[in-house]
C-alpha cells in the first residue's frame, strides 16, 4: 500500500504534468475546433520554440522569459503565415492532417540539421528548484507552466465568450454561411486565431526547453497524449483542454505510483475510449 506522502506527491506531479498537456493542447484545440484544421505541426512549432529558447539562452545568454517575449510574437506571425498557405491551397480538415504531418517532418529535419540529433539541455540555476509544502515538493518550473496554462486557458475562454471576435469565430465554426450573412469576416479572424495558436505553441516551447532535454524526435512524444486531451476536453474548449490535461496527468501519475509505470500510457487512451463511449460525438 503506497504511503500518503507518495500518493500526495504523485498527485502534485500529475497536476503539473497535466498543466503541460493542457498548455500544448490549447492551440491545437482552437485550430481544430474553430478553423477545422488538425494542425500536427503544432508539436513541431512547440519544439522549435524550445530550441530557439535554448539557442537564445546558451548562445546569447538571453533569459528564457526575454526569449519568450521575442519568440511568442514571432510565432504569432509564423502562424499567420502558415494560415495564408493553408488558405491559398484550400486545405480542408482531412487534408490538413496530411499537410501538417509533412510540415512536421520537414521541421523535424530542419531541427536535426541545425542542432543535430544529439541531446540538448538548457541548464538554468532554477531547473531543479522546488517549493516545500509540508512533506510534498512542488517543482517551480512545472508549477509556472501549469499556472501559465491555467491563465491562458481562462483568458482564451473569456476572449471566445465575451468579445466580438470570439463570438464571430465560434459562429463561423458553427455555421460559416450564416455568420458571413451577419457580416463576420471569417478570413481575417482565422488569421488571428492561427497566429494565437502558434503563439501558444511558442509559450509551451519555452517551458519545454526549461523542463525537458531536447531532441528532434521529441516532437512525436507528445502527439498521442495531447490528441487524447484535445478530444476529451472538447474541440475549441480551452477550459476543457486544461481540465482534460489535468485528468490525464493525474491518472497517469497515480497509475505510476500505485500500480506500475508501464501502464501509464494506457491511461490516456483508456480514459478517451470511456469518454467516447459515454459521450459519443465529441469530435
Amino acid at each position: 500500500m503506497p504511503s500518503l506522502t507518495l500518493l500526495g506527491q504523485a498527485l502534485v506531479s500529475g497536476v503539473l504534468a497535466g498543466g503541460i498537456y493542457g498548455l500544448l493542447a490549447l492551440g491545437l484545440s482552437l485550430s481544430w475546433g474553430l478553423l477545422r484544421l488538425v494542425n500536427l505541426a503544432h508539436f513541431a512549432l512547440a519544439l522549435l520554440g524550445a530550441y530557439l529558447t535554448y539557442q537564445l539562452g546558451t548562445a546569447l545568454h538571453m533569459s528564457p522569459w526575454l526569449a519568450a517575449a521575442a519568440i511568442v510574437p514571432g510565432f504569432f506571425l509564423l502562424g499567420c503565415g502558415l494560415h495564408a498557405v493553408f488558405a491559398y491551397f484550400r486545405v480542408t480538415e482531412f487534408t490538413s492532417l496530411l499537410v501538417t504531418f509533412g510540415l512536421t517532418v520537414i521541421l523535424e529535419s530542419l531541427l536535426q540539421w541545425f542542432w543535430t540529433a544529439d541531446y540538448r539541455r538548457y541548464e538554468t540555476p532554477y531547473a531543479t528548484a522546488s517549493l516545500r509544502v509540508g512533506p510534498l515538493f512542488v517543482p517551480v518550473l512545472e508549477m509556472l507552466a501549469c499556472l501559465t496554462a491555467a491563465a491562458l486557458a481562462l483568458a482564451t475562454w473569456a476572449w471566445l465568450r465575451f468579445t466580438y471576435v470570439g463570438k464571430a469565430l465560434r459562429a463561423s465554426a458553427e455555421d460559416p454561411a450564416m455568420a458571413a450573412a451577419f457580416g463576420v469576416n471569417h478570413r481575417r479572424q482565422a488569421f488571428l486565431l492561427s497566429g494565437v495558436s502558434a503563439a501558444y505553441a511558442g509559450v509551451a516551447g519555452t517551458f519545454i526547453a526549461l523542463i525537458s532535454t531536447l531532441a528532434p524526435a521529441q516532437i512525436w512524444a507528445w502527439v498521442g497524449v495531447v490528441f487524447a486531451v484535445v478530444i476529451i476536453g472538447g474541440l475549441a474548449n480551452p477550459i476543457g483542454a486544461l481540465l482534460a490535461g489535468l485528468l490525464i496527468g493525474v491518472s497517469e501519475s497515480i497509475t505510476m505510483a500505485v500500480v506500475t509505470p508501464a501502464w501509464a500510457p494506457l491511461v490516456s487512451f483508456s480514459v478517451l475510449i470511456v469518454i467516447l463511449l459515454v459521450r459519443p460525438g465529441r469530435v
Partner: protein, 402 residues
Amino acid sequence: MISRVRLNCRGLLAGLFVLALTIPAGAAPSGPPIRIGGTLALTGPLAPTALLHKIAGDVYIDELNKANGLLGRPVEWVLLDDQSKPDLTRSLYEKLLTVDKVDLLMGPYATSGILAAMSVAQRYQKVYIHHSFGMPHLAKYEMHFPTAAFGPEPNVTLPTTVFNSLAATANPPKTVAILTSKFPSAQFQSAGAKEVAEKRGLKVVLYLEYEFGTRDWGALAARVKDAKPDFLWVGALGLDGNQLLEAMKKLDYTPPRHFHLFPAPGPMVVAPDGNLALSSTVFEEHPPFMNNPGAAKLVPLFRERATKANVPYPHVDTQVAGSFAAWQVLEAAVTATKSIDDKALGQWLRANRVPTIIGTLRFDGPNNYGEDLFKVKQVQDGKWVVVWPKEFAAPGARLLPP
C-alpha cells in the same frame, strides 16, 4: 656541367624519398568500390546515439580509403535511415541486398533493429557484424558477429561486475531499487540484475518497468524516494537517468548510489546531479584503453569530426568504440581472407581472434559471443573514469563512496 647534373639527380632522388615518406604506405585504392550496406537510426528516438555510430563509420571508412581501401578497392558505405523503427530496418536491409546489391553488411543501431535485420542477413547468408546488441540469447544466426562485448549472459555477468565493484567498497549496499525501461535489452539486463542482487542477499525494495519514452518522471522519482534504497539501478536508455535524477532532485532526494545501464554519456557528465553516477563501459579515453594503437589513431579523429558536427560530447566511449570495433572486425576478416565472400569471412571470424579498440574479440562462444568485456565507470570531476576492475581503472581512480 657533369657534376651539376649529378647534383640535380641527387636532389631529385632526395625529393622523391621525402615525398615517399609523406604519402600513405599503400597505393590509393582503385577499381569498383566494395559497397557495404547498413542502416542507422538517423532520425527518431534512437538518433542521438546513432549519430555517434555514423560519425565513427565515416571516420573509419575515410581512413580506409586514405590507405589502401579493402583489397585495394575503395570502400563505399551505403547508409540508409531506419528512423529507429525495427520493421523499417528489416525492409531496408532487404532493399540493400536486393536493390542496391551491396557486397557486405554492417549492422544497425540498436538491439531491436539488429534483431530485425538479422533475419534478412540469415535468409541471404550474409556475414552480419553489429555493434550494439544487448540480448545475446536471441542471436541464433551462425554468421552474426557482435562487437558489443557483453558475453553470452550479460544479464548475469554485467550485474555481477557492478555488484562486485560495490561490494569492494567500505559500505556496500544492502537494499536495491531497480527501475528499467521496457526497451528489450535494458529490461533483459535489469531483470537479471534483480536476480543477481537477490542471490547475493541484497534486498530488492523496488522493481519497476516503465515505457520507452516516458515523459513524467515525478511519480517514478517519488516511488524511489519512498523506497529509500542504498543503491538505485536504472535500466536507462539515453536520457532516462538524467530525467530521473532531476525529478528526484526536485523532491530534495538523491539516491546514495546510482547506476545507469545505457546512458547518454555527455548529458550525464555535465548534469549537476550526475556526479558519482555509475555506468558500464568497454572503453574510455584514458589508459590503459588509450594505449591501444587503434585508439591512439581513431580517438583524435573522432573528436575532431564530432566537434565539427556540433556534437555536444565529442568523446569515444562504449558506443563509438563498439562501432570502431565492428569496422575493425570487418577489415580484419576481409584482409585475412583476401575475399569478400561471406562464407569465407564467417569461417575466418569464428576461428580467429581479432584485436580491436575495445580489446581482443573472439566469436567462438555460445551464440558467437566471447568474454564480457564490460567494466564499471563513474562520473568524477566532470569526466567518466573506469573504476572497476582495478587493472582497468584510470590512473589513481577508485569507486568513490557517496
